[in-house]
């Protein structure tokens, strides 16, 4: 690193060299996050098809393999799908608004990837260690809705527009519950920095994780996360049986695939955030020898995979919500629960020290 920095200084002078050096290191970092993320997305689709298949007593994708190796059957499927998507034609409907039609998938994937900038992968490994990390993520995920709305409008089709309308109302409603759930996490950790939030859950075992004192918030967050990513059982924005495919009904080829990529990378993002905020991030469940030997990054991956499994499980299990039921759940159940829990946490934080240091409370406060 030192040597590279000097090389940049010599090549471009000290003023520009430092800037270009940080630009180069940041770009490397970004690629180091985005490339594994997209690979993860590809194999998440594979995992989804396999897991749901086994839940429904089928086999799932079992043909495409690498170099004819028999025990890798099925593992080439996501790659084959990607190649197919790239080769297909992107059809733009005649009456569609051409610029916005192309812009919509871009606007969907951009915040889905940009949100990863502040996600820490282990205590030191984070691209941008900013103070307001959690706020940044909330801001970025709230921008994802534009892609859906613009796609629905630009397609100039009724089904697409209906899907966009449903999705917009749903995402805006659930964002509130999600934000309130996160406020509880902030109150516990007293920091907006994701690394500090994980460090706040340190303390010997999984009893210290925010999962236990904030269990209702954990449920609210995960369910709102499912609703935010428009996954089943909240996938009325797509609703195959009612409005064909919702907002992306007119998209094809790579343009459609970009929506798909964004949806899955948002899923991974929500799962990662759940792991970081409630499940102790990279901390092992118990601070004893065999668990502490495993690097923190592996623990984080395991927890993310655990939450992602639930996402897939939900899809295989639950029937789709009716639209008024979705709205009722968001506004009449989640928001009151979160508001009450904020008051409870605030009240506990204001208790006198003698009570706060007593048996169960001193673990978390």
């Amino acid at each position: 690193m030192e040597y590279l920095q000097q090389l940049f200084d010599q090549l471009f002078g000290t003023a520009w060299g430092a800037m270009l050096f940080s630009l180069a290191t940041n770009m490397t970092f970004i690629f180091a996050i985005v490339v594994p993320l997209l690979l993860g997305v590809a194999y998440l689709t594979f995992a989804e098809r396999k897991i749901i298949a086994y839940m429904q007593i089928r086999v799932g994708p079992n043909r495409v393999t690498f170099f004819g190796i028999p025990w890798l059957r099925g593992w080439g499927q996501p790659i084959a799908d990607a190649v197919k998507a790239i080769m297909k034609e992107i059809i733009i409907p005649t009456k569609a608004n051409k610029y916005l039609f192309i812009l919509a998938p871009v606007l969907t994937i951009m915040p889905a990837l940009a949100a990863w900038a502040v996600v820490p992968f282990s205590p030191e490994v984070v691209l941008a260690d900013i103070n307001a990390g959690l706020l940044y993520i909330l801001a970025m995920t709230s921008m994802g809705i534009y892609g859906v709305i613009i796609a629905g409008w630009a397609s100039n089709s009724k089904y697409a527009f209906l899907g966009a309308m449903r999705s917009a109302a749903q995402v805006v409603s659930y964002e509130l519950a999600m934000g309130f759930a996160l406020v509880c996490v902030l109150m516990m950790s007293q920091s907006l920095n994701l690394g500090d939030i994980v460090n706040g859950q340190q303390g010997g075992s999984m009893l210290n994780w925010y999962l236990i004192p904030l269990f209702p918030m954990f449920l609210v967050y995960v369910i709102s996360g499912v609703a935010e990513t428009n996954r089943a059982p909240f996938d009325v924005a797509e609703g195959e049986s009612e409005i064909v495919a919702g907002f992306h009904v007119d998209y094809s080829g790579m343009a459609f695939t970009v929506f798909f990529l964004a949806e899955y990378s948002n899923m991974i993002l929500v799962a990662t955030l759940t792991a970081l905020l409630f499940l102790g991030g990279w901390l092992p469940p118990v601070d004893i020898a065999p668990f502490t030997l495993i690097p923190g990054f592996i623990w984080l991956l395991l927890k993310v995979a655990f939450v992602l499994f639930f996402f897939l499980w939900f899809r295989a299990t639950f029937p789709r919500y009716r639209y008024d039921q979705i709205m009722r759940l968001g506004w009449k159940i989640f928001i009151p629960i979160t508001l009450i829990w904020i008051v409870v946490i605030g009240a506990i934080m204001q208790l006198p020290d003698s009570i706060r240091n007593m048996a169960p409370l001193n673990v978390w406060f």
Binding site: M19, A132, L135, Y136, A139, I145, I149, V172
Partner: protein
């Protein structure tokens, strides 16, 4: 410093062009989208001023919630552009007068003695661990707590008023009651009948 200046000028250019676009675009949907772009670039400028909390909140509140609903409404409207442009010249002098008054007001504020580099020198750069969020929270909940609470009550009143104006109690609607549905037991709906098995002919 050069790098920051470059970023400042890029962002300012985008901001001015998109803000002009908001009022000149023919399609209202374009106007709304350009306004979103203006908000985002404005947030970028605030980030340059080390006001990260305000910048992110601008994106979160205005871009993430307000403009989504705005766009929602604009897209639902069936706007006839020709009818919109009818009477443009009739109202032009009136509009121009208002614009002039606004320009004069802005000029009076900005060119007065309270603004300028002498009265407001550039803020000093803060250390990396300085938390803008924490400082803002401290100020809001100590020094400015009454104005803050007043603003909150004002918003609440507006919200209650909006709901009260639009709420209609319909008598003819036939919506199910979820808690009743959940409380239904197997015994309420199914009757088990013991029946001897029948022989196949």
């Amino acid at each position: 410093m050069i790098f920051q200046d470059v970023i400042f000028y890029i962002f300012s250019t985008i901001l001015i062009v998109s803000a002009l676009g908001v009022i000149t675009a023919r399609n209202p949907v374009y106007s709304a989208l350009l306004l979103v772009l203006a908000f985002v670039t404005c947030a970028g400028l605030w980030l340059l001023l080390e006001a990260e909390f305000l910048a992110i909140t601008l994106v979160l509140v205005y871009v993430g919630a307000v403009m989504v609903l705005f766009l929602f409404v604009v897209m639902m409207l069936d706007i006839n552009l020709d009818r919109l442009r009818e009477g443009f010249w009739k109202w032009f002098p009136f509009g121009a007068l208002i614009a002039l008054v606004m320009v004069a007001e802005i000029a009076m504020v900005l060119m007065g003695k309270h603004f300028g580099l002498e009265q407001m020198p550039a803020p000093e750069a803060q250390a990396a661990d300085y938390s803008n969020t924490k400082e803002l929270g401290r100020l809001i909940y100590t020094e400015y707590v009454y104005p803050f609470e007043l603003a909150a009550v004002l918003l609440l009143v507006a919200m209650v008023a909006a709901i009260a104006l639009t709420l209609r109690q319909r008598e003819d609607k036939n919506s199910p009651n979820p808690s009743e549905q959940v409380r239904v037991k197997k015994e309420d709906r199914i009757r088990m009948v013991a029946m001897p098995s029948e022989k196949k002919e």
